[in-house]
Assembly symmetry: C2
Homo-oligomer: 206 residues x 2
DNA sequence: CTCCGGGCATGACAAATGTCAGAAGCCCAC
DNA sequence: GTGGGCTTCTGACATTTGTCATGCCCGGAG
């Protein structure tokens, strides 16, 4: 690779410790340059607009808006900025959503900084990179068997709310809610909606 | 501070990215020296035994055994090794458990590496350090109002298991289980056991 | 010693939940 | 345009919960 101008990076992660450490390590690479940092989703967007980085390295879970949401907005506003998502807990469904949002790379935080630097270069060069293990998980987990409404209702049930409340918030009758919950649970092989919620969470389907 | 021998550190975190970055940043400080790294609880223990570090910087959530468990074992085996716990999601109850386990420092991952280095020195000098915000949360959250059995049953209910299963696993009658769940829920101000579980989780009481 | 709170249980009732069958409207594909 | 899948509803039923009263045993506080 001939010496061209460095890759300009945006780093977004709510954990200052990691963000700072990462910035320091990546800056050690001659061809990488951290031009902006952010601790929240909205902040990441604002920083991206202000600095127009080549690659945005986003944490999946951030206050305000998660990495995928930020990626979606970024794709619309800065098509030239490639997004690389870094995550601690890689749920299969997240990867799918991320890819659908136009994310170019998806890696767990268990990779080394060295490896991350390489991946950043890969993504910047226009290629894609998905961690093989996460990819395997996503493939074996398959697609969500839930219909849109089932998923919606299941999500509303997530914090333990009674059927009456779910029905109200979804503007559905209680009977309908129970039917959806029941069919969602049976599709997921769960005995009740609460385990169903847990299973759907684990697979990243909610 | 006169130039004495450096503080020998053990770093344990399952995320290689963070661990590596942290090791690099902390090594930049003249008086700090990373002598061992670990990715799991048991590994951290083994490393500690092998290297007898002055300060162990542990992530709260690691595969195998969490930071508090490691701290407990460490306290027994290496009384001279002070433990500093670093966490992403600081639940009030965790802090309390950590302090009870003899942990000397407790900080969120939102601090900067610079600050962390200072805190490591504080802990090494024999003092304690608890992040003020986490401390405030812990104090305002107060003590768990649950009796031992209530907490135990609530924990078994955590993954959405039906009463029959909880009863079997706790070797209690179903009626007793329902009574405990009911009283736990009312103590927590929850409408049902599932929200009760969620609330107890948030406060770190399970 | 006696009282009290916690652990444990039972039984009974009310409320919430899960399950099923059936039915209507809608839209898409064949 | 017909069939099939999704959405939505209703009603009925079985099962699971939540709640409450009541009782027993035990160990520590007064």
């Amino acid at each position: 690779m001939t010496s061209t101008r460095p890759v300009r990076l945006l780093l977004a992660d709510d954990e200052h410790l990691i963000r700072g450490a990462l910035a320091a390590l990546l800056s050690l690479e001659d061809d990488l340059m951290v031009v902006a940092e952010a601790a929240t989703g909205p902040e990441a967007l604002a920083m991206a607009r202000a600095h127009a980085p080549d690659v945005a390295v986003l944490d999946l879970q951030m206050p305000g808006a998660d990495g995928v949401k930020v990626a979606t907005s970024l794709r619309a506003e800065l098509p030239g900025c490639h997004v690389l998502i870094v995550t601690s807990h890689g749920r299969p469904g997240h990867l799918k959503r991320a890819l659908a949002a136009g994310v170019r790379g998806f890696v767990p935080k268990t990779v080394s900084a060295q490896r991350l630097a390489e991946i950043i270069r890969t993504v910047h060069a226009g290629h894609r990179y998905v961690d093989p293990e996460l990819a395997a998980d996503a493939i074996s987990a398959g697609d969500s068997p839930l219909t849109a409404r089932e998923a919606e209702v299941l999500e509303l049930a997530a914090d333990g709310a009674p059927v009456a409340e779910i029905a109200e918030r979804a503007a559905l009758s209680q009977g309908t809610v129970r039917n959806y919950l029941s069919s969602a649970a049976s599709k997921l092989g769960a005995e009740n909606r609460h385990t169903a919620v847990r299973l759907a969470r684990e697979r990243g389907w909610v």
